[in-house]
Symmetry: C2
Subunit: 233 residues, 2 copies
DNA sequence: AGATTTTTATGTTTTATAACAAACTAATTT
DNA sequence: AAATTAGTTTGTTATAAAACATAAAAATCT
Protein backbone atom coordinates (compact mmCIF):
# COMPACT_ATOMS: atom_id res chain seq x y z
CA UNK A 1 0.00 0.00 0.00
CA UNK A 2 1.21 3.49 -0.85
CA UNK A 3 1.62 6.21 1.73
CA UNK A 4 0.98 9.91 1.34
CA UNK A 5 4.72 10.57 1.52
CA UNK A 6 5.80 8.10 -1.14
CA UNK A 7 3.12 9.63 -3.34
CA UNK A 8 5.08 12.85 -3.73
CA UNK A 9 7.98 10.78 -4.90
CA UNK A 10 5.93 9.19 -7.68
CA UNK A 11 4.79 12.61 -8.79
CA UNK A 12 8.21 14.25 -9.00
CA UNK A 13 10.77 11.50 -9.34
CA UNK A 14 9.35 8.87 -11.65
CA UNK A 15 10.72 9.07 -15.20
CA UNK A 16 7.24 9.13 -16.79
CA UNK A 17 6.23 12.26 -14.90
CA UNK A 18 6.29 15.59 -16.75
CA UNK A 19 8.02 16.95 -13.62
CA UNK A 20 10.90 14.49 -13.84
CA UNK A 21 13.12 16.82 -15.88
CA UNK A 22 12.49 20.16 -14.18
CA UNK A 23 15.32 21.85 -12.29
CA UNK A 24 16.24 20.82 -8.76
CA UNK A 25 15.19 24.19 -7.32
CA UNK A 26 11.83 24.09 -9.10
CA UNK A 27 11.27 20.57 -7.83
CA UNK A 28 11.99 21.57 -4.25
CA UNK A 29 9.75 24.58 -4.56
CA UNK A 30 6.83 22.56 -5.94
CA UNK A 31 7.39 19.82 -3.39
CA UNK A 32 6.90 22.37 -0.61
CA UNK A 33 3.64 23.47 -2.25
CA UNK A 34 2.19 20.01 -2.75
CA UNK A 35 -0.18 18.23 -0.41
CA UNK A 36 -1.21 14.61 -0.56
CA UNK A 37 -4.24 13.03 1.07
CA UNK A 38 -6.10 9.77 0.92
CA UNK A 39 -9.73 9.19 -0.02
CA UNK A 40 -12.12 6.47 1.02
CA UNK A 41 -14.15 4.62 -1.57
CA UNK A 42 -16.86 6.84 -3.09
CA UNK A 43 -15.40 9.99 -1.58
CA UNK A 44 -15.63 13.30 -3.41
CA UNK A 45 -12.32 14.57 -4.82
CA UNK A 46 -13.79 17.73 -6.33
CA UNK A 47 -17.24 19.10 -7.04
CA UNK A 48 -18.70 20.57 -10.21
CA UNK A 49 -18.84 24.39 -10.20
CA UNK A 50 -16.12 24.88 -7.62
CA UNK A 51 -12.71 26.48 -8.20
CA UNK A 52 -9.60 24.33 -8.70
CA UNK A 53 -7.00 24.85 -5.97
CA UNK A 54 -4.22 23.33 -7.99
CA UNK A 55 -3.17 20.46 -10.18
CA UNK A 56 -4.34 17.13 -8.78
CA UNK A 57 -2.32 14.02 -9.50
CA UNK A 58 -3.70 10.61 -8.67
CA UNK A 59 -1.04 8.59 -6.94
CA UNK A 60 -2.93 5.45 -6.01
CA UNK A 61 -6.40 4.08 -6.69
CA UNK A 62 -9.04 4.95 -9.24
CA UNK A 63 -11.12 8.10 -9.77
CA UNK A 64 -14.06 8.75 -12.06
CA UNK A 65 -14.72 12.19 -13.53
CA UNK A 66 -18.39 12.57 -14.39
CA UNK A 67 -21.14 15.02 -15.20
CA UNK A 68 -24.61 14.72 -13.80
CA UNK A 69 -27.00 14.57 -16.71
CA UNK A 70 -30.75 14.89 -17.03
CA UNK A 71 -32.75 12.73 -14.63
CA UNK A 72 -29.81 11.85 -12.40
CA UNK A 73 -28.21 9.77 -15.14
CA UNK A 74 -24.49 10.43 -14.84
CA UNK A 75 -22.04 10.46 -17.70
CA UNK A 76 -18.50 9.36 -16.94
CA UNK A 77 -16.20 11.65 -18.93
CA UNK A 78 -12.93 10.11 -17.92
CA UNK A 79 -11.33 7.53 -15.63
CA UNK A 80 -8.02 8.27 -13.97
CA UNK A 81 -5.25 5.88 -12.99
CA UNK A 82 -2.14 6.39 -10.82
CA UNK A 83 0.21 8.91 -12.42
CA UNK A 84 -2.62 10.67 -14.23
CA UNK A 85 -3.77 14.23 -13.67
CA UNK A 86 -7.32 15.14 -12.85
CA UNK A 87 -9.16 18.43 -13.05
CA UNK A 88 -6.39 20.12 -15.05
CA UNK A 89 -8.69 21.29 -17.80
CA UNK A 90 -10.56 23.69 -15.52
CA UNK A 91 -7.31 24.81 -13.88
CA UNK A 92 -5.68 25.84 -17.17
CA UNK A 93 -8.85 27.24 -18.67
CA UNK A 94 -9.17 29.47 -15.60
CA UNK A 95 -12.66 28.13 -15.03
CA UNK A 96 -14.60 26.29 -12.38
CA UNK A 97 -14.83 22.54 -12.69
CA UNK A 98 -17.38 21.42 -15.27
CA UNK A 99 -17.57 17.96 -13.75
CA UNK A 100 -17.19 16.20 -10.41
CA UNK A 101 -14.63 13.60 -9.36
CA UNK A 102 -15.25 10.67 -7.01
CA UNK A 103 -12.92 7.84 -5.99
CA UNK A 104 -13.93 4.34 -7.09
CA UNK A 105 -11.80 2.73 -4.39
CA UNK A 106 -9.36 3.82 -1.66
CA UNK A 107 -7.12 6.37 -3.38
CA UNK A 108 -4.34 8.88 -2.75
CA UNK A 109 -4.16 12.18 -4.63
CA UNK A 110 -1.67 15.05 -4.47
CA UNK A 111 -2.42 18.69 -5.23
CA UNK A 112 0.27 21.05 -6.50
CA UNK A 113 -0.79 24.54 -5.50
CA UNK A 114 -1.92 26.57 -8.48
CA UNK A 115 0.26 29.69 -8.20
CA UNK A 116 3.40 27.77 -7.42
CA UNK A 117 2.81 25.58 -10.47
CA UNK A 118 2.04 28.54 -12.72
CA UNK A 119 5.16 30.41 -11.70
CA UNK A 120 7.31 27.39 -12.52
CA UNK A 121 5.51 26.90 -15.83
CA UNK A 122 6.04 30.53 -16.84
CA UNK A 123 9.79 29.94 -16.67
CA UNK A 124 9.84 26.45 -18.10
CA UNK A 125 8.45 26.31 -21.65
CA UNK A 126 9.27 22.62 -21.90
CA UNK A 127 7.05 21.81 -18.96
CA UNK A 128 4.24 23.94 -20.35
CA UNK A 129 4.71 22.30 -23.72
CA UNK A 130 4.53 18.82 -22.19
CA UNK A 131 1.30 19.70 -20.42
CA UNK A 132 -0.07 21.20 -23.64
CA UNK A 133 0.69 17.97 -25.45
CA UNK A 134 -1.03 15.93 -22.79
CA UNK A 135 -4.14 18.12 -22.94
CA UNK A 136 -4.20 17.95 -26.74
CA UNK A 137 -4.05 14.17 -26.58
CA UNK A 138 -6.92 14.09 -24.15
CA UNK A 139 -9.00 16.36 -26.34
CA UNK A 140 -8.52 13.84 -29.12
CA UNK A 141 -9.79 10.99 -26.97
CA UNK A 142 -12.72 13.14 -25.92
CA UNK A 143 -13.68 13.91 -29.54
CA UNK A 144 -13.49 10.26 -30.53
CA UNK A 145 -15.64 9.38 -27.56
CA UNK A 146 -18.28 11.91 -28.62
CA UNK A 147 -18.60 10.18 -31.96
CA UNK A 148 -18.66 6.69 -30.42
CA UNK A 149 -21.20 7.51 -27.77
CA UNK A 150 -23.53 9.20 -30.22
CA UNK A 151 -23.25 6.87 -33.17
CA UNK A 152 -22.58 3.36 -31.92
CA UNK A 153 -25.33 1.05 -30.71
CA UNK A 154 -25.51 -0.40 -27.22
CA UNK A 155 -23.40 -3.47 -27.95
CA UNK A 156 -20.72 -1.40 -29.66
CA UNK A 157 -20.62 1.14 -26.85
CA UNK A 158 -20.36 -1.49 -24.14
CA UNK A 159 -17.64 -3.38 -26.02
CA UNK A 160 -15.73 -0.12 -26.43
CA UNK A 161 -16.03 0.60 -22.72
CA UNK A 162 -14.66 -2.82 -21.80
CA UNK A 163 -11.72 -2.31 -24.16
CA UNK A 164 -11.22 1.13 -22.64
CA UNK A 165 -11.14 -0.38 -19.14
CA UNK A 166 -8.54 -2.93 -20.25
CA UNK A 167 -6.43 -0.16 -21.78
CA UNK A 168 -6.68 1.99 -18.69
CA UNK A 169 -6.36 -0.53 -15.88
CA UNK A 170 -5.09 -3.73 -17.47
CA UNK A 171 -5.65 -7.23 -16.11
CA UNK A 172 -5.24 -8.96 -12.76
CA UNK A 173 -2.44 -11.51 -12.52
CA UNK A 174 -4.54 -14.13 -14.29
CA UNK A 175 -4.17 -12.05 -17.47
CA UNK A 176 -7.90 -12.31 -18.12
CA UNK A 177 -9.86 -10.40 -15.49
CA UNK A 178 -10.14 -6.63 -15.93
CA UNK A 179 -8.34 -4.92 -13.04
CA UNK A 180 -11.30 -2.67 -12.27
CA UNK A 181 -14.35 -3.69 -10.29
CA UNK A 182 -16.92 -1.13 -11.36
CA UNK A 183 -20.57 -1.30 -10.41
CA UNK A 184 -22.99 -2.04 -13.21
CA UNK A 185 -24.21 1.52 -12.82
CA UNK A 186 -20.72 2.92 -13.43
CA UNK A 187 -20.31 0.69 -16.48
CA UNK A 188 -23.62 2.10 -17.70
CA UNK A 189 -22.51 5.70 -17.05
CA UNK A 190 -19.35 5.01 -18.97
CA UNK A 191 -21.22 3.52 -21.92
CA UNK A 192 -24.11 5.94 -21.99
CA UNK A 193 -26.95 3.52 -21.34
CA UNK A 194 -29.31 2.59 -18.54
CA UNK A 195 -28.09 0.23 -15.83
CA UNK A 196 -30.61 -2.38 -16.97
CA UNK A 197 -29.24 -2.35 -20.47
CA UNK A 198 -25.65 -2.57 -19.25
CA UNK A 199 -26.53 -5.66 -17.21
CA UNK A 200 -28.54 -7.20 -20.00
CA UNK A 201 -25.88 -6.63 -22.64
CA UNK A 202 -23.11 -7.88 -20.35
CA UNK A 203 -25.00 -11.11 -19.82
CA UNK A 204 -25.60 -11.42 -23.56
CA UNK A 205 -21.85 -11.08 -24.11
CA UNK A 206 -21.34 -13.78 -21.46
CA UNK A 207 -23.87 -16.08 -23.17
CA UNK A 208 -22.04 -15.55 -26.44
CA UNK A 209 -18.79 -16.59 -24.78
CA UNK A 210 -17.10 -13.23 -25.32
CA UNK A 211 -16.69 -12.50 -21.60
CA UNK A 212 -17.14 -14.29 -18.30
CA UNK A 213 -18.92 -12.79 -15.30
CA UNK A 214 -18.27 -13.47 -11.60
CA UNK A 215 -19.88 -10.70 -9.62
CA UNK A 216 -18.04 -7.53 -10.54
CA UNK A 217 -15.17 -9.45 -12.05
CA UNK A 218 -15.22 -9.40 -15.83
CA UNK A 219 -13.08 -12.00 -17.59
CA UNK A 220 -12.19 -11.25 -21.18
CA UNK A 221 -12.45 -14.49 -23.13
CA UNK A 222 -12.44 -13.22 -26.72
CA UNK A 223 -10.77 -9.80 -27.16
CA UNK A 224 -10.85 -10.05 -30.96
CA UNK A 225 -14.60 -10.49 -30.88
CA UNK A 226 -14.92 -7.57 -28.48
CA UNK A 227 -12.95 -5.37 -30.87
CA UNK A 228 -15.11 -6.55 -33.72
CA UNK A 229 -18.30 -5.69 -31.84
CA UNK A 230 -16.85 -2.30 -30.96
CA UNK A 231 -15.87 -1.58 -34.56
CA UNK A 232 -19.07 -2.57 -36.28
CA UNK A 233 -20.86 -0.30 -33.79
CA UNK B 1 -13.74 41.11 -48.97
CA UNK B 2 -10.50 40.10 -47.31
CA UNK B 3 -7.33 39.36 -49.23
CA UNK B 4 -4.67 36.78 -48.46
CA UNK B 5 -2.27 39.57 -47.48
CA UNK B 6 -4.54 41.35 -45.01
CA UNK B 7 -5.16 37.94 -43.47
CA UNK B 8 -1.66 37.78 -42.05
CA UNK B 9 -2.30 41.12 -40.47
CA UNK B 10 -5.38 39.84 -38.65
CA UNK B 11 -3.40 36.87 -37.38
CA UNK B 12 -0.44 38.80 -35.97
CA UNK B 13 -1.59 42.35 -35.36
CA UNK B 14 -5.10 42.21 -33.97
CA UNK B 15 -5.26 42.67 -30.19
CA UNK B 16 -7.32 39.51 -29.67
CA UNK B 17 -4.70 37.29 -31.26
CA UNK B 18 -2.41 35.27 -29.00
CA UNK B 19 0.43 36.46 -31.26
CA UNK B 20 -0.29 40.16 -30.62
CA UNK B 21 2.15 40.41 -27.70
CA UNK B 22 5.09 38.36 -28.99
CA UNK B 23 8.39 40.11 -29.73
CA UNK B 24 8.95 41.98 -32.99
CA UNK B 25 11.62 39.53 -34.11
CA UNK B 26 9.46 36.52 -33.39
CA UNK B 27 6.61 38.12 -35.27
CA UNK B 28 8.76 38.76 -38.32
CA UNK B 29 10.10 35.23 -38.20
CA UNK B 30 6.64 33.67 -37.99
CA UNK B 31 5.35 36.02 -40.69
CA UNK B 32 7.99 34.68 -43.07
CA UNK B 33 6.88 31.13 -42.25
CA UNK B 34 3.17 31.69 -42.72
CA UNK B 35 1.21 31.05 -45.88
CA UNK B 36 -2.36 32.11 -46.56
CA UNK B 37 -4.66 30.72 -49.21
CA UNK B 38 -8.31 30.90 -50.08
CA UNK B 39 -10.82 28.07 -50.29
CA UNK B 40 -13.94 27.70 -52.38
CA UNK B 41 -17.17 26.58 -50.77
CA UNK B 42 -17.06 22.90 -49.75
CA UNK B 43 -13.32 22.68 -50.29
CA UNK B 44 -11.20 20.41 -48.13
CA UNK B 45 -8.95 22.24 -45.66
CA UNK B 46 -7.44 19.09 -44.16
CA UNK B 47 -8.18 15.39 -44.25
CA UNK B 48 -8.52 12.88 -41.43
CA UNK B 49 -5.42 10.71 -40.88
CA UNK B 50 -2.99 13.14 -42.50
CA UNK B 51 -0.18 15.01 -40.74
CA UNK B 52 -0.60 18.67 -39.73
CA UNK B 53 1.84 20.97 -41.51
CA UNK B 54 1.37 23.78 -39.06
CA UNK B 55 -1.10 25.85 -37.12
CA UNK B 56 -4.05 26.87 -39.28
CA UNK B 57 -5.87 30.11 -38.51
CA UNK B 58 -9.14 30.90 -40.19
CA UNK B 59 -9.05 34.46 -41.39
CA UNK B 60 -12.31 34.73 -43.27
CA UNK B 61 -15.31 32.48 -43.82
CA UNK B 62 -16.56 29.40 -42.00
CA UNK B 63 -15.10 25.92 -41.63
CA UNK B 64 -16.62 22.76 -40.19
CA UNK B 65 -14.50 20.13 -38.45
CA UNK B 66 -16.19 16.76 -38.60
CA UNK B 67 -15.71 13.04 -38.24
CA UNK B 68 -17.25 10.54 -40.60
CA UNK B 69 -19.30 8.16 -38.52
CA UNK B 70 -20.94 4.82 -39.21
CA UNK B 71 -23.04 4.69 -42.37
CA UNK B 72 -21.71 7.96 -43.77
CA UNK B 73 -23.44 9.97 -41.08
CA UNK B 74 -21.05 12.78 -40.23
CA UNK B 75 -20.63 14.32 -36.83
CA UNK B 76 -19.63 17.98 -36.71
CA UNK B 77 -17.15 18.34 -33.84
CA UNK B 78 -16.57 22.05 -34.10
CA UNK B 79 -17.31 25.11 -36.22
CA UNK B 80 -14.65 27.73 -36.75
CA UNK B 81 -15.01 31.46 -37.27
CA UNK B 82 -12.49 34.11 -38.36
CA UNK B 83 -9.71 34.48 -35.81
CA UNK B 84 -10.09 30.90 -34.62
CA UNK B 85 -7.55 28.12 -34.93
CA UNK B 86 -8.27 24.80 -36.57
CA UNK B 87 -6.48 21.50 -36.39
CA UNK B 88 -4.31 22.56 -33.47
CA UNK B 89 -5.22 19.61 -31.31
CA UNK B 90 -3.49 17.12 -33.63
CA UNK B 91 -0.54 19.48 -34.09
CA UNK B 92 0.18 19.78 -30.37
CA UNK B 93 -0.60 16.15 -29.61
CA UNK B 94 1.96 15.19 -32.28
CA UNK B 95 -0.67 13.08 -34.01
CA UNK B 96 -2.40 12.87 -37.35
CA UNK B 97 -5.72 14.66 -37.69
CA UNK B 98 -8.60 12.72 -36.13
CA UNK B 99 -11.15 14.66 -38.16
CA UNK B 100 -11.50 16.44 -41.49
CA UNK B 101 -12.12 20.13 -42.16
CA UNK B 102 -14.20 21.56 -45.01
CA UNK B 103 -15.14 25.16 -45.76
CA UNK B 104 -18.84 26.03 -45.53
CA UNK B 105 -18.40 29.11 -47.71
CA UNK B 106 -15.56 30.99 -49.46
CA UNK B 107 -12.84 31.20 -46.81
CA UNK B 108 -9.24 32.24 -46.24
CA UNK B 109 -6.92 30.34 -43.91
CA UNK B 110 -3.29 30.89 -42.93
CA UNK B 111 -0.85 28.19 -41.87
CA UNK B 112 2.06 28.96 -39.55
CA UNK B 113 4.73 26.37 -40.27
CA UNK B 114 5.03 23.87 -37.42
CA UNK B 115 8.76 24.04 -36.62
CA UNK B 116 8.88 27.81 -36.77
CA UNK B 117 5.94 28.00 -34.37
CA UNK B 118 7.40 25.42 -32.00
CA UNK B 119 10.74 27.19 -31.82
CA UNK B 120 9.05 30.45 -30.91
CA UNK B 121 6.85 28.70 -28.34
CA UNK B 122 9.83 27.04 -26.68
CA UNK B 123 11.20 30.48 -25.91
CA UNK B 124 7.95 32.19 -25.05
CA UNK B 125 6.16 30.55 -22.11
CA UNK B 126 3.43 33.17 -22.21
CA UNK B 127 2.49 32.24 -25.75
CA UNK B 128 2.52 28.53 -24.89
CA UNK B 129 0.46 29.27 -21.82
CA UNK B 130 -2.08 31.22 -23.85
CA UNK B 131 -2.44 28.36 -26.30
CA UNK B 132 -2.76 25.91 -23.41
CA UNK B 133 -5.56 28.00 -21.98
CA UNK B 134 -7.34 28.06 -25.30
CA UNK B 135 -7.07 24.29 -25.68
CA UNK B 136 -8.31 23.74 -22.13
CA UNK B 137 -11.32 25.92 -22.83
CA UNK B 138 -12.11 23.95 -25.94
CA UNK B 139 -11.83 20.67 -24.10
CA UNK B 140 -14.47 21.99 -21.72
CA UNK B 141 -16.85 22.78 -24.56
CA UNK B 142 -16.18 19.36 -26.03
CA UNK B 143 -17.00 17.59 -22.75
CA UNK B 144 -20.23 19.53 -22.32
CA UNK B 145 -21.17 18.65 -25.86
CA UNK B 146 -20.61 14.97 -25.20
CA UNK B 147 -23.13 15.09 -22.39
CA UNK B 148 -25.65 17.13 -24.41
CA UNK B 149 -25.46 14.98 -27.49
CA UNK B 150 -25.84 11.77 -25.55
CA UNK B 151 -28.47 12.79 -23.04
CA UNK B 152 -30.72 15.42 -24.59
CA UNK B 153 -33.63 14.55 -26.83
CA UNK B 154 -33.98 15.71 -30.44
CA UNK B 155 -35.70 19.01 -29.60
CA UNK B 156 -33.14 19.85 -26.92
CA UNK B 157 -30.21 19.01 -29.17
CA UNK B 158 -31.54 21.08 -32.06
CA UNK B 159 -32.31 24.04 -29.81
CA UNK B 160 -28.80 23.82 -28.39
CA UNK B 161 -27.32 23.77 -31.89
CA UNK B 162 -29.24 26.89 -32.87
CA UNK B 163 -28.04 28.68 -29.74
CA UNK B 164 -24.52 27.51 -30.52
CA UNK B 165 -24.78 28.94 -34.04
CA UNK B 166 -25.95 32.28 -32.65
CA UNK B 167 -23.05 32.31 -30.17
CA UNK B 168 -20.52 31.44 -32.85
CA UNK B 169 -21.68 33.52 -35.80
CA UNK B 170 -24.17 36.03 -34.43
CA UNK B 171 -26.98 37.67 -36.39
CA UNK B 172 -27.32 39.46 -39.71
CA UNK B 173 -28.02 43.20 -39.56
CA UNK B 174 -31.72 42.57 -38.85
CA UNK B 175 -30.66 41.27 -35.43
CA UNK B 176 -32.84 38.19 -35.89
CA UNK B 177 -31.47 35.98 -38.63
CA UNK B 178 -28.60 33.64 -37.74
CA UNK B 179 -25.52 34.67 -39.73
CA UNK B 180 -24.85 31.14 -40.93
CA UNK B 181 -26.62 29.48 -43.82
CA UNK B 182 -26.03 25.81 -43.15
CA UNK B 183 -27.64 23.03 -45.12
CA UNK B 184 -30.19 20.93 -43.28
CA UNK B 185 -27.74 18.09 -43.44
CA UNK B 186 -25.07 20.14 -41.65
CA UNK B 187 -27.57 21.18 -39.00
CA UNK B 188 -28.34 17.48 -38.56
CA UNK B 189 -24.63 16.57 -38.32
CA UNK B 190 -24.21 19.27 -35.71
CA UNK B 191 -27.16 18.04 -33.66
CA UNK B 192 -26.57 14.33 -34.05
CA UNK B 193 -29.77 13.40 -35.81
CA UNK B 194 -30.90 12.40 -39.29
CA UNK B 195 -31.53 15.11 -41.88
CA UNK B 196 -35.24 14.25 -41.92
CA UNK B 197 -35.50 14.76 -38.20
CA UNK B 198 -33.62 18.06 -38.35
CA UNK B 199 -36.06 19.33 -40.99
CA UNK B 200 -39.09 18.02 -39.15
CA UNK B 201 -38.04 19.47 -35.82
CA UNK B 202 -37.13 22.83 -37.38
CA UNK B 203 -40.58 23.08 -38.91
CA UNK B 204 -42.17 22.13 -35.56
CA UNK B 205 -40.23 24.99 -33.94
CA UNK B 206 -41.50 27.27 -36.73
CA UNK B 207 -45.10 26.14 -36.16
CA UNK B 208 -44.68 26.85 -32.46
CA UNK B 209 -43.50 30.36 -33.29
CA UNK B 210 -40.04 29.88 -31.79
CA UNK B 211 -38.22 30.42 -35.09
CA UNK B 212 -39.01 31.56 -38.61
CA UNK B 213 -37.79 29.77 -41.74
CA UNK B 214 -37.01 31.25 -45.16
CA UNK B 215 -34.94 28.74 -47.07
CA UNK B 216 -31.68 28.41 -45.19
CA UNK B 217 -32.31 31.59 -43.26
CA UNK B 218 -33.33 30.91 -39.68
CA UNK B 219 -34.95 33.81 -37.80
CA UNK B 220 -34.88 33.56 -34.03
CA UNK B 221 -38.24 34.77 -32.75
CA UNK B 222 -38.18 33.52 -29.15
CA UNK B 223 -34.66 33.00 -27.76
CA UNK B 224 -35.96 32.45 -24.22
CA UNK B 225 -38.10 29.60 -25.41
CA UNK B 226 -35.18 28.15 -27.34
CA UNK B 227 -33.05 28.23 -24.20
CA UNK B 228 -35.85 26.59 -22.27
CA UNK B 229 -36.16 23.80 -24.83
CA UNK B 230 -32.40 23.33 -24.74
CA UNK B 231 -32.34 23.18 -20.94
CA UNK B 232 -35.19 20.76 -20.37
CA UNK B 233 -33.45 18.55 -22.95
C1' DA C 1 -28.39 -12.72 13.34
C1' DG C 2 -31.90 -10.18 11.58
C1' DA C 3 -33.31 -6.04 9.19
C1' DT C 4 -32.61 -2.73 5.75
C1' DT C 5 -30.61 -0.94 1.88
C1' DT C 6 -28.17 -1.37 -2.33
C1' DT C 7 -27.05 -3.81 -6.33
C1' DT C 8 -28.02 -7.10 -9.83
C1' DA C 9 -31.10 -9.54 -12.81
C1' DT C 10 -34.86 -10.31 -16.13
C1' DG C 11 -39.39 -9.70 -18.24
C1' DT C 12 -42.86 -6.43 -20.44
C1' DT C 13 -44.46 -2.15 -22.37
C1' DT C 14 -43.81 2.22 -24.38
C1' DT C 15 -41.58 5.64 -27.02
C1' DA C 16 -38.20 8.28 -29.43
C1' DT C 17 -35.86 8.20 -33.40
C1' DA C 18 -33.92 5.88 -37.40
C1' DA C 19 -34.95 3.90 -41.80
C1' DC C 20 -37.41 3.93 -45.79
C1' DA C 21 -40.17 5.94 -49.44
C1' DA C 22 -41.94 9.20 -52.55
C1' DA C 23 -42.67 13.80 -54.10
C1' DC C 24 -41.53 18.39 -54.53
C1' DT C 25 -38.20 22.46 -54.96
C1' DA C 26 -34.01 24.75 -55.84
C1' DA C 27 -29.65 24.90 -57.82
C1' DT C 28 -26.31 23.56 -61.47
C1' DT C 29 -24.97 22.02 -65.71
C1' DT C 30 -25.40 21.35 -70.56
C1' DA D 1 -34.38 26.67 -71.61
C1' DA D 2 -34.18 21.97 -70.76
C1' DA D 3 -32.04 18.44 -68.24
C1' DT D 4 -29.80 16.78 -64.44
C1' DT D 5 -28.51 16.75 -59.88
C1' DA D 6 -28.67 18.03 -55.14
C1' DG D 7 -31.36 19.44 -51.35
C1' DT D 8 -35.79 19.74 -48.86
C1' DT D 9 -40.24 18.17 -47.23
C1' DT D 10 -43.67 15.03 -45.43
C1' DG D 11 -45.69 10.55 -44.44
C1' DT D 12 -45.24 5.67 -42.89
C1' DT D 13 -43.03 1.75 -40.82
C1' DA D 14 -39.65 -0.54 -38.08
C1' DT D 15 -36.71 -0.86 -34.18
C1' DA D 16 -33.41 0.15 -30.58
C1' DA D 17 -33.37 1.56 -26.24
C1' DA D 18 -35.74 3.72 -22.31
C1' DA D 19 -39.12 3.23 -18.83
C1' DC D 20 -41.40 0.53 -15.76
C1' DA D 21 -42.05 -3.40 -12.78
C1' DT D 22 -40.78 -7.07 -9.85
C1' DA D 23 -37.79 -10.25 -7.70
C1' DA D 24 -33.53 -12.21 -6.21
C1' DA D 25 -28.95 -11.63 -4.36
C1' DA D 26 -25.43 -9.18 -2.01
C1' DA D 27 -23.80 -5.81 1.00
C1' DT D 28 -24.32 -2.89 4.94
C1' DC D 29 -26.17 -1.51 9.18
C1' DT D 30 -28.18 -2.19 13.83
Amino acid sequence: MKTEESSKDLLFNSPESVFYTISKEDKEYLLKNTECRSYKKNELVFLENTKPAGLICLSDGKVKIFKEGAGGRDQIIRLSRPGGFIGYRALFAGQNYHASAVSLEVSIACTIEKNALFSVMKNDPNLTFAILKSLATELGVSNMRTVSLTQKHIRGRLAESLLFLIETYGYFDDGLTIKALLSREDIASLSNMTTSNAIRTLSTFAQEGVIGLEGRRIKIIDVKMLQKISNIG
